[in-house]
């Protein structure tokens, strides 16, 4: 099964698994899919999340406090898959995956029916073994493209990616921002020169307006910190709150996507 980008923009929703606990994460994921999220990034909590801003740092700390592990996240993915056909991507730092072992990791992904993975701190140069393992099992490898990546690197990133390419909207860590920087559009244009894959834009997208704006030049938008913050602010009714937030995000684009869908 492959990742689907039939709507434009598709919503890629990120959650930190195990925050507040794994059972709630499962309910949140299913609620988000029900509300219209197309792809879910299952975030593996990590002790040193250098690419993440304060919201996801706090969520990771909470999830780690009761010992959430990569194995548990994979199990969670399998449970979600038994109930939903949405795209599932593991979003992790390399360390937990390295500890589990690349072979075991890819086998577990296949077994769970998870589509692929995105590893934040694994640039393409270091990704040889990982990409080989993932290809053997036809799993997607999503790589990040940054505004600071020169064209030569974008070419390598596009070549190593399957499923989609994740364009980082700005230099910096994850977290909501009021405005999308000007060079995001430029980065997407540069990535597109090297690939026919769909492009998802992420980092800093938190409102329906931004979400719709991304839809003008990219196939998908990733929303992370804003969802994690919604979870943080609504203890006891997390799934409902996330579902409502997702519907809000998508509300402004339903007409647009209907038009785009006919192309």
């Amino acid at each position: 099964m492959s990742l689907s980008f039939q709507k434009r923009p598709a919503l890629v929703a990120y959650v930190t698994c195990g925050d507040p606990d794994l059972a709630t994460t499962r309910a949140i994921v299913l609620a988000a899919v029900e509300a219209g999220a197309h792809i879910i990034e299952l975030g593996v909590p990590f002790s040193d999340p250098v690419a993440d801003g304060p919201v996801i740092q706090r969520a990771s700390e909470r999830a780690l406090r009761h010992g959430t592990s990569l194995e548990q996240v994979l199990k969670l993915g399998k449970e979600v898959r038994s109930k939903s056909q949405a795209g599932l991507i593991i979003f992790s730092y390399l360390n937990p995956i390295l500890r589990l072992g690349l072979t075991k990791f890819s086998a577990a992904l296949e077994d769970a029916g998870i589509n692929g993975a995105l590893i934040t701190d694994l640039p393409v140069e270091e990704a040889g073994d990982y990409v080989r393992e993932m290809r053997k099992r036809r799993l997607d490898t999503v790589f990040l493209a940054a505004p600071t990546s020169p064209d030569e690197r974008l070419k390598q990133i596009a070549k190593a990616s399957t499923g989609f390419v994740y364009a980082v909207s700005r230099t910096g860590v994850t977290g909501a921002r009021k405005q999308l920087p000007e060079d995001t559009r430029d980065l997407v244009r540069r990535v597109r020169r090297h690939t026919k894959l769909p492009i998802a834009v992420g980092f800093g997208i938190s409102s329906a307006e931004q979400f719709a704006a991304v839809g003008e030049f990219a196939e998908a938008a990733v929303v992370g910190s804003a969802i994690v913050e919604t979870i943080e602010r609504n203890p006891g009714k997390e799934p409902e709150a996330v579902a409502q937030f997702v519907r809000q995000l998508l509300a402004g684009t339903s007409q647009l996507s209907a038009k785009q869908g006919q192309r």
């Binding site: 250098v50 701190d121 940054a146 980082v168």
Partner: protein
């Protein structure tokens, strides 16, 4: 000195650049990769540039105070009655530690790359002070990240950094120590990468940092080698260096790695949890009070803490009878004096860590 400060050629002990066996490499978010590549290029170019070498040599000599003496510690040698002990006095450098060697080198590189904002992490504050000092020398903006727990412990160094014009930013996340300061510095770097150089102080992180920091520190070993040959006409039997971030130890070891007969010994503090585990492992195997007392020594733990840990792990019933400290430096299992049994010698540790 006629010798170049950092190795000029491409020759490296590692086969692939930036790889040390299974270690090394470059595992960072994509946004930083091009900055690391830029740094690597600048460094490779600089080390082949005679002007760069000459400027660094001059700064090390006139500003930092190189070469540092190799001092024969006569009284310590007599007291311990074993090896002849020499001290390589890196503590005599400006700011009081070897850290300045690396800071000067990287500041020169930052200047070449046109980056006038410097960020750094610090634990005890030594690297932060050296960075702040070098930034004052070069007229760079300087931001130092430091865990709030470390800031509390090392108040004086925080004061020194601020006095030198650096901004010290407290890090509240995680354990509020060095590791979290590094994470926060990385986040700053990801955000301001186009204008900022991250002046890392240890032989860790992504390539080219470990290689580059080592190269800026091996001046220690080069001097020490010439000095010991001059003083003794031979190489030392062993070199002992403390290991924290590793820059001091690799700095002195590097020029002796090929001398198989020189023993290279790194000394590091056992973390509290590691010490606890060593203790638990050895304490469980104890068949006698004597062995039990020895297990404290192996773990370097205080008696009370060891007993508390053991009780916590295995229940009070497993904790052996109280052992009394009879005189400083000796431990006796309770009642053992009646059996004319003197306990093992245990060297007390008066202080641990810095």
């Amino acid at each position: 000195m006629a010798t170049a400060t950092i190795p000029r050629g491409k020759k490296d002990s590692t086969r692939t650049p930036g790889r040390f066996g299974v270690y090394g490499g470059r595992y960072v978010p994509e946004t930083l990769v091009s900055a690391l590549e830029e740094l690597e290029r600048a460094y490779e170019k600089a080390k082949r540039d005679r002007k760069f070498q000459a400027r660094l040599d001059e700064l090390l000599r006139s500003y930092a105070g190189r070469p540092t003496p190799l001092f024969f510690a006569r009284r310590l040698t007599e007291k311990l009655g074993g090896a002849k002990i020499y001290l390589k006095r890196e503590d005599l450098l400006h700011t009081g530690a070897h850290k300045i060697n690396n800071c000067l080198g990287q500041a020169l590189l930052a200047e070449r790359m046109g980056k006038r904002r410097i960020i750094a992490e610090t634990g005890a504050g030594q690297h932060g002070v050296a960075t702040a000092t070098v930034c004052a020398l070069f007229g760079f903006e300087c931001v130092v990240y430091m865990g709030t727990e470390d800031m509390r412990r090392q108040e004086l160094n925080v004061f020194r950094m601020r006095l030198l014009g650096a901004e010290v930013r407290g890090v509240e996340s995680g354990s509020r120590t060095l590791k979290d300061a590094i994470n926060e510095a990385m986040r700053d770097w990801v955000t301001n990468v186009r204008t900022t150089h991250y002046l890392l102080g240890s032989v860790l992180g992504a390539h080219p940092y470990p290689t580059m920091v080592r190269d800026f520190q091996i001046v220690i070993g080069r001097e020490a080698r010439a000095q010991i040959l001059n003083a003794e006409g031979r190489l030392p039997t062993a070199i002992i260096a403390c290991v924290g971030g590793g820059s001091n130890s690799i700095g002195i070891f590097h020029h002796f790695i090929k001398d198989k007969r020189v023993k290279l010994i790194g000394a590091r503090r056992l973390s509290r949890s590691a010490a606890g585990n060593v203790f638990l492992r050895s304490a469980r195997r104890c068949r006698s009070d004597r062995q039990y007392a020895l297990s404290f020594r192996r773990a370097g733990l205080s008696l009370d803490r060891s007993r508390a840990r053991l009780a916590q792990r295995f229940g009070q019933s497993r904790v052996r009878p109280r052992i009394r400290r009879r005189s400083p430096g000796r431990l006796h299992p309770a009642g053992s004096h009646r059996r004319h049994h003197s306990g093992p010698r245990i060297r007390t540790r008066h202080s641990r860590g810095r």
